[in-house]
Symmetry: C2
Subunit: 346 residues, 2 copies
DNA sequence: AAGGAATGCGGAAACGGTTCCATGGTATAT
DNA sequence: ATATACCATGGAACCGTTTCCGCATTCCTT
């Protein structure tokens, strides 16, 4: 019992093996300059005493803790998007012998930076080497974090209304290019009567809408949109927009949903309205979330590589830690058009 | 720059404030027995130097690190069930000033305990105080963990084939009672022709099936089941089972799906087959996952309180840490029948 | 006014590692 | 044979906290 209390220390090991503490330390780490026979005696003592080095004592000396903190801003996890980013961070961390602290933070975007209450994990110095900011990030929070002088990297697509220079590293995906490719693809299949659906009060929705408009303009098509701001969930927004879309004439031949959740709501509306997808209306989403495969037929959409974003966040952060003075980088991952069953050739 | 290197120490603060290190320490912690005027001078120095105590040095002395490790076994996060347990752990941890390390482990259930490769985070002592094992846990892994002498608590419902005494704390939900209530409810609405769908090669599926059989037996109903083992995903399994169910005569009036994913597959099958839910067949699920609300009408199901399981895991673990000798506890949370639209009164 | 308890405070010791320096031994070069 | 280099090793010093001990001061109590 209570192995915590009377756990063996490095000095116990040294005594047991009949060597000095320095030698034990050398065996534990690099291990250079230790005779084979000595090393084996030390290892035996370690096994015999069940010695495991104390993490804290060790870290006092090391320059870094080899722990990063994944900080999820203003989000809950039932939304699997950020859970998958965390998954990517953890997968990568495991390979690189790093560890991941998980913490959440909730604040109002209107609160003054100095007044935001930070999770207590940020009070201490040296617990972790750097921060990965996921979830939704507002400028007031970033200002606050910057003051802490902790290296950090931000998942950039959910950066809301950030004006001015960005004095931090960023990782994100190319929402404009992804949507542009998607719409081009739909147009290439013969669709000329397109409609975009998405609440443009979100900045990342605006990016996708602009890509939609650009594609239409490039092909001299007249775009229609349902883009009102709303308090509804994305799925409900899609369902509501679907009802409105069905009331318009002529019906669009293809609807571009700003994401898969909205697409799901649209699909439900169309189904209820007896309108076949993709028979009468083609449908395309964005993100490639779990909903895409639940639809029938499965949703054609644009895949955001969530796990890879996580990996890139960690790698960028570690790079920053190694080279504190390097210029700030903005990494943009590409997306993939995933053709499934909801867009048909006209 | 590089605030990491020349960061202020407690001695710098002491010098700046013209007091001893002991006094600064007292101000930082409990703060008893320090004159108000002195305390203010110290706090001023702390603010002035931007002093933040070194987490590691502090933890050398403390009995505990106030960090727990959430270890996800053999799972990925797109499956939101465990993500929501983690969410519960984190919410609770934030309130209790604890921190959460997140790590994953992947192993084969056939590997000998001694040969399972553990994440490197378990090599060091003192990094965290205890473990929360979520995901799917096999006996070989638990045996391995037990040898490490680290306090741990297990999410119990995904414990596969564990025989014999359980020398650890457990938190879970009452799958039997939850399913029993659900089936009783369906029977109470007049259904007499029930069918259970779920791959019984999973232990937790068997528990639910037994509850289903018990309820049928209690009401002298003749149960039917589709329970073959399969490699299919749950949704696909439901869809496959749905086709088989529609081929049988008479059709069941109600289908009890072992979980919401299977229910989703069944719903899709029934819809494709032109069979109305709940018009011709009522449907009930289990878990209350995101899929339940995506169905149309939304799925009547049994809610597992995932966040509360997470909270209970953390609380149990902290209790164990406080009282290492207390007898092992097995906490079972109740479930809630969530009546939505897929079960109709006959 | 004197004795005793409680408070305020400084500084040494301790925590469990790493790092560095001094030392003795062995191999190689001259 | 001697100088030089390098290897193997023990042990002291150190990292930045907390804790504890001891002393000075203050506050009651009688």
């Amino acid at each position: 019992m209570s192995s915590v209390c009377n756990a063996a220390t490095i000095r116990d090991v040294a005594r047991e093996a009949g060597v000095g503490v320095g030698t034990v330390s050398r065996v534990l780490n690099g291990g250079d300059h230790v005779r084979l026979e000595t090393r084996e005696r030390v290892m035996l003592a370690i096994r015999h005493l069940g010695f495991r080095p104390n993490a804290q004592a060790r870290r006092i000396h090391r320059r870094h803790s080899e722990i990063v903190c994944f900080l999820l801003g203003n989000r809950k996890f039932p939304n699997s998007f950020h859970a998958r980013i965390l998954q990517g961070v953890e997968d990568c961390a495991r390979e690189l012998k790093q560890h991941v602290l998980f913490a959440g933070v909730h604040y109002d975007s209107e609160t003054a930076p100095g007044l935001i209450e930070l999770p207590s994990i940020l009070d201490e110095r040296g617990l972790f080497d750097g921060l990965i900011l996921s979830g939704t990030n507002h400028p007031n929070f970033l200002t606050r974090i910057q003051k802490l002088q902790i290296p950090f990297v931000v998942f950039g697509n959910n950066l809301v209304d950030f004006e001015g220079d960005k004095y931090f590293d960023q990782v994100g995906y190319d929402g404009f290019k992804g949507e542009l490719e998607a719409v081009e693809n739909v147009i290439g299949l013969g669709h000329e009567n397109l409609m975009f659906v998405g609440d443009v009060s979100y900045p990342w929705v605006r990016v996708r809408q602009e890509a939609f408009l650009r594609a239409c303009q490039d092909h001299k098509l007249k775009p229609r949109s349902i883009i009102e701001a709303s308090e509804l969930s994305f799925v409900d927004y899609g369902e509501w927009a679907g009802r409105r879309a069905l009331a318009r004439r002529p019906l669009p031949t293809a609807v571009v949903a700003v994401n898969d959740e909205v697409a799901y709501g649209l699909w439900r509306s169309f189904r209820r309205g007896g309108v076949s997808v993709p028979g009468e209306i083609s449908l395309i989403g964005f993100d490639d979330r779990e909903e895409a495969l639940l639809m029938d037929p499965p949703l054609t959409t644009v895949r955001v590589r969530k796990e890879e974003i996580g990996r890139a966040c960690l790698i960028t952060l570690l790079e920053r830690l190694r080279h504190p003075e390097m210029p700030f980088v903005e990494t943009t991952l590409s997306t993939d058009l995933v053709v499934r069953g909801t867009v048909r050739k006209l």
